[in-house]
């Protein structure tokens, strides 16, 4: 029971990371793709939206890794061994995304200097969520095998499959979609709003074929997920997820941006919930389950207490930060 609560906290952190940190990555993508007559205005709007809150959003990733190694140490050891290469690539992406953003802010305002950092920031913003999507995909493929507690399938298993790539592209499109939707609310200028609305619609529509491709690849590439998604509960869940996505697109069309934000967050959350439900009870398909990898009860209990106390402290502070930050704009 305890391990399920921690697993739920892990999923919740992943959702928070996706809808905050993921959206910051999406912002970086739109920064790189900024075009048209209002190119600089787009970039400024993105920089203002990410501003000094991206570090707080980024901490969810640290929380995820810490929860994983405290509560599920053997799953952590296996994951980090089998996926050494994509995790190292992700770290390089994380370094350049974070540092290029802050360096751009504090370096010379000269155009070519700013442009250089923008390119690095944008490229890393594409790269990082793509690799993160691949990693999540790889864990579901069932190709990472463990025997006697050691990884038996080497360092290339799982993450170089079409399914993992499809997951990477899905993560990209999702981050871009969330970012563009948030930006429609953050900007006051009508034309700028239209730019981001157009981008939100494009990336939102792109989600559908990518999701379909991932589903088709899952049949052979991640049979456990495919099997899970054909369960009785999967039809209403998939229906709800697609429904949210459609409502988000329709709200964008009718310029109901607040509704679009709520439904796009719901879409992202439901995707992650559906994926984890399909993969349940595995952390690494098919050899490591939540139950088998769990740390002793005392660790889980203390961790849960720490999570509750930390949450009670953090959420009001986080809310305060967002309020201060938004009223500053």
């Amino acid at each position: 029971m305890l391990e399920l609560l921690i697993a739920a906290a892990l999923l919740l952190s992943l959702i928070f990371y996706a809808v905050t940190g993921g959206a910051d990555s999406g912002g970086g993508m739109w920064d790189l793709l900024a075009s048209g007559p209002r190119r600089d205005e787009q970039r400024n709007a993105i920089a203002r939206a990410i501003g000094p809150i991206w570090e707080a959003n980024h901490v969810w990733l640290i929380l995820i890794v810490v929860l994983l190694f405290t509560a599920f140490p053997s799953a952590f050891a296996v994951t980090m061994t089998a996926l050494f290469i994509p995790f190292s690539l992700m770290l390089i992406g994380v370094i350049f995304r974070g540092s290029a953003f802050i360096f751009r802010k504090y370096d010379s305002p000269a155009k070519e200097v700013q442009g250089r950092w923008s390119t690095l920031f944008g490229a890393a913003s594409f790269f990082t969520p793509f690799v993160q999507g691949m990693i999540l995909g790889a864990l579901a493929t069932g190709q990472i095998r463990v025997s006697e507690g050691r990884v038996a399938t080497g360092f290339l298993a799982g993450w170089l499959t079409p399914f993992a790539f499809a997951c990477g592209f899905f993560a990209l499109a999702l981050c871009a979609f969330l970012a563009a939707v948030y930006l429609t609310i953050d900007t006051k200028d009508r034309e700028l709003e239209n730019d981001f609305r157009f981008r939100a619609l494009c990336s939102g529509i792109a989600l559908a074929p990518i999701a379909a491709a991932a589903f088709l690849f899952a049949k052979n590439g991640a049979p456990e997920i495919f099997h899970g998604l054909t369960n009785w509960w999967a039809i209403p869940l998939i229906g709800l997820t697609s429904g949210c996505a459609v409502v988000a697109l329709v709200s964008l069309w009718f310029r109901k941006f607040v509704a679009a934000r709520a439904t796009s967050i719901a879409t992202a959350s439901l995707v992650l919930i559906g994926w984890s439900a399909a993969q349940f009870p595995y952390l690494v398909v098919p050899d490591i389950t939540i139950h088998a990898a769990a740390a002793p009860a005392i660790t889980l209990r203390l961790l849960l207490i720490a999570l509750c106390l930390g949450g009670a402290l953090l959420f009001p502070s986080l809310f305060f930060l967002y309020r201060i930050f938004k009223s500053n704009q």
Binding site: I62, A77, A295, S317, N328
Partner: protein, 444 residues
């Protein structure tokens, strides 16, 4: 070089960079809130400008520290999966708490940076204080996890399996207290003297610049108050290391033989095969006196430890000497500064003193890095002292030279950029006009 050695080098290199970023990230906010506090009390706009300057420095260091810290938390598993598999459940607790402390730091730094105009001056200052508390707490938590590797506690081993885990006891292991104090103080000292050096450099050019005088004053107060405490905590650490890890103390002092009334050995070239040290300065009975408070006490030498369990004696001994001598140099410098300031009741600004302060700028960081070499190299060949060997914990991943080279280049780039940007922020004294406009805009 073997993959094992590359794994250790990669971890060591990542830590060596992160420790600098993190230490400045912890200590600069203290300078920042001190400056803002002085501004709130005195109303002198120059202190507000200083707080703003240091807040921008904090923002840069915090961001870089956040990414280099992320890298480290992953590298624990990427490079040492077997270690994390066994230790995760035991020492995950301080890492989780560190995560929350870090989160709080991130949130309130965000509030501080964007709240200059929106918050009342006191609430704004308070959010800065929370940044300091968050930073110091995350340093405390993460150091307790490291201390556990030196003094493992909170579990039993029955038939080769770990049982009876007690994460609280693990966190409150016997090495935690002295390691935490020594690390946090060193962050304040290193940052204090480095910042002092920057502003002393400018006062050498322009003696009466009020901005740099104010900055130098705050940095020196922070540095000079912490150094004597650090000498005390260093003495405590030495005694505790002697008690908990006799092999580490023996390597620090290149003490090959067990001796009554052991001497303190400074410098020299230790030779493991001959088990002697050449060209060293020895202070008779001093090691016994320092470590056991008794000039005739017995100090265990490396002869008590199987040769296969020896750390690298040369590196540990030299690192210890570098740390201790840098520390004492700063101690005498602090005494001089304090004495002059007390006699004159003002900031001492003699040219020779400013020159010495500039030269002493890197000493705190040198001592910090050397101290970490002592702790980490002195623990080898163990990753968990007496329990698990480092080479049992390493990843089976081949070709670790590649990530080592890539990450080294990335870190060098980060360090270069941070130095360059801090130079932009700090090396530029505001022109009088600029100072006027910034203060005017904040008051508006």
């Amino acid at each position: 070089m073997s993959d094992f050695l590359f794994a250790r080098s990669l971890m060591g290199m990542s830590l060596a960079f992160h420790i600098i970023f993190a230490a400045i990230g912890v200590a600069l906010p203290l300078l920042m809130v001190t400056a803002e506090g002085v501004y709130l009390r005195t109303g002198k706009p120059i202190y507000l400008e200083l707080a703003r300057r240091w807040s921008r420095g904090s923002a840069i260091l915090f961001a870089v520290g956040a990414v280099s810290g992320t890298v480290l938390s992953f590298e624990l598993g990427l490079l040492w999966p077997t270690f994390m598999e066994k230790a995760g459940a035991i020492i995950g607790m301080p890492f989780s708490l560190e995560g929350f402390a870090f989160f709080a730091e991130a949130i309130f730094l965000g509030v501080y940076l964007s709240g200059w105009k929106l918050l009342s001056p006191f609430v704004h200052w308070l959010s800065g204080v929370l940044v300091v508390i968050g930073g110091v707490s995350s340093a405390i938590f993460v150091v307790t996890a490291n201390a556990w590797m030196n003094a493992p506690a909170g579990f039993k081993i029955v038939d080769g399996k770990i049982t009876d885990i007690d994460p609280i006891a693990a966190m409150l292991n016997q090495a935690s207290f002295h390691q935490v104090i020594h690390m946090v103080l060193s962050a304040f000292i290193a940052t204090g003297f480095a910042v002092a050096a920057v502003h002393a450099f400018f006062l050498l050019r322009k003696k009466d610049d009020a901005f740099h005088r104010a900055a130098l004053g705050i940095a020196l107060v922070v540095g000079c108050v912490c150094v004597p405490l650090q000498i005390w905590s260093g003495d405590l650490s030495g005694r505790e290391v002697g008690r908990l890890q006799p092999a580490k103390l023996a390597a620090m002092e290149a003490a090959y033989r067990t001796q009554n009334g052991a001497p303190l050995v400074v410098g020299g070239i230790p030779n493991d095969d001959a088990q002697t040290i050449k060209y060293a300065i020895t202070l008779p009975r001093f090691l016994s006196l320092l470590a056991k408070r008794d000039p005739n006490a017995t100090i265990a030498g490396l002869d008590q430890v199987p040769r296969s369990d020896w750390p690298n004696v040369r590196l540990v001994h030299w690192s210890f000497d570098v740390m201790a001598s840098s520390g004492f140099a700063l101690f005498f410098l602090s005494l001089t500064v304090a004495l002059l300031a007390w006699k004159r009741r003002s900031l001492p600004d003699d040219r020779w003193l400013l020159r010495v302060l500039v030269a002493a700028g890197p000493l705190g960081f040198i001592a910090m890095e050397a101290g970490w070499m002592v702790t980490e190299l002195g623990r080898q060949p163990w990753i968990i002292y007496g329990i698990m060997r480092t080479n049992e914990a390493v990843t089976p991943m081949p070709g670790l030279a590649v990530p080592f080279i890539i990450f080294t280049c990335v870190y060098l780039f980060l360090a270069f950029m941070v130095a360059y940007l801090l130079r932009r922020e700090f090396f530029r004294a505001p022109a009088p006009g600029e100072r006027q406009t910034t203060t005017a805009s904040t008051r508006a």
